[in-house]
């Protein structure tokens, strides 16, 4: 049984932001509820009001505009795994979305809700960082961009302000010679380690972006590992990928817990980076 709360159903982002501003910590945005309702059932959080954002329009499409892919925050994982636009422009993200949780969570869970709840053991954030995504956050009368790198601050903590609503996720459409891949590993219900890699292939590898997620409190970009592969030829990069993996493992801020020891997770980061890199090359 959940504790009683009042349901608010704003019809515009401005209204939603205004409600959040007015009610502060006693209100929370509610979309698919796949994370929020669990926390509420556990009694870990309590809210007087839930702000149902599913009546907001224009936030559940996948469109392209000026070389950018725009994903509405209310797009469900199910929508994304079946989006022809996404499959065409970002197959790595399509594959990620196909493998989020299970079919029932994918049916109602939204990508916006996933990244805003910022559960450490989640998938999309890691790849969005590697793809150089930007989040669009809106208040009653203003909008701002937050890079994916800056969005994930800590476990369950994002850069969003209390009265901001995430509306869109913008991903630059990769160039024809761009490659990317996301791999995850886990044997519990949620992933234990996730690694994303993106780069341009033109003789050598350039514009390398590597991100690690799930092992630490928040997904993060690993510049140290990127530097070990940046500008190298394909073969040289493959020779250095183990070193890059070790560097990424150390940078993952892994903690020993039920998902595995710190050493084990760091090791898995290395394995996944190697495989993701090879997968992206092929």
């Amino acid at each position: 049984m959940l504790r009683r709360f009042r349901l608010e159903e704003p019809e515009s982002v401005a209204e939603a932001a205004e409600l959040l501003g007015r009610f502060g910590e006693s209100a929370k945005v509610y979309a698919g509820g796949t994370e929020l309702l669990l926390a509420m059932k556990e009694g870990l959080v309590q809210y007087e009001r839930l702000i149902n954002v599913k009546k907001l329009t224009g936030l559940s499409d996948v469109t392209t505009a000026d070389g950018t892919l725009v994903i509405g925050a209310l797009c469900t994982h199910h929508q994304l795994e079946n989006s022809p636009v996404l499959r065409d422009k970002l197959p790595a993200l399509t594959k990620l979305e196909q493998n989020v949780a299970n079919v029932r969570v994918r049916q109602v869970g939204t990508i916006g809700g996933n990244i805003c709840f910022a559960e450490p053991h989640a998938d999309p954030g890691t790849l969005l960082i590697a793809l150089g995504a930007k989040m669009i956050a809106e208040q009653s009368s203003s909008k701002r961009e937050i890079t994916a790198e800056d969005f994930f601050v800590d476990a369950y903590e994002t850069a969003l302000q209390a009265d901001e609503v995430l509306t869109k996720i913008q991903v630059p459409i990769p160039a024809p010679n761009a490659r990317s891949a996301y791999l995850k590993f886990g044997y519990l219900e949620r992933p234990s380690v996730g690694v994303a890699v993106a780069f341009n292939l033109n003789g050598g590898v350039s514009g390398v972006r590597i991100a690690v997620g799930c092992a630490g409190p928040a997904p993060r970009r690993v510049a140290e590992a990127e530097a070990l592969l940046e500008g190298k030829s394909k073969d040289e990069a493959l020779r250095h990928v183990a070193e890059a993996g070790a560097s990424a493992g150390r940078a993952a801020q892994a903690i020993s817990d039920l998902h595995g020891s710190q050493e084990y997770k760091e090791h898995i980061v290395g394995v996944l980076l190697k495989r993701a890199f090879q997968s992206a090359l092929s």
Binding site: A39, E42, G43, L44, A118, I255, S256, D257
Partner: protein, 150 residues
Amino acid sequence: MQFQKEVEILAPREKVWQFIWDVDRFIACVPGCKDAKTIEAGKRYAATMVEKVGPFKVEFPTTIEVLEREELTRIKAQASGADNKIGSRMKLDLDVHLREEGDKTILGFVAGVDILGKLAALGHGIIKRKADQVLDEFAQAVKTKLEGDG
């Protein structure tokens, strides 16, 4: 969960020792700690610990017992608290020691922290990081307070 911290303070040992027993100022160094009260000077104290991890907030009314005391050298204390709203308990075993190194005082402490109940559902890793953060900030705050006062 076990933690070990050491912080160098540019202040004489007596000053650091005195500061520890100045309960209000000392408790103010613990991030999230408020409403410090002396129940029995030198022996029992009370405070409220408020900590937040993202949307998850806990409020532990806490009692602190001083178990052992070695003048200017060592304190052994135990603290415990419960947040009935969330259904979680906190236990802390604290061993504080001071030693002199030239004109510096080394304040070290060994802390054993246990979080029981629903909050543990957040995951051992998250809680460990948070506790580590709190203890780090605490050590820094003590240093800053003591050094800042000249």
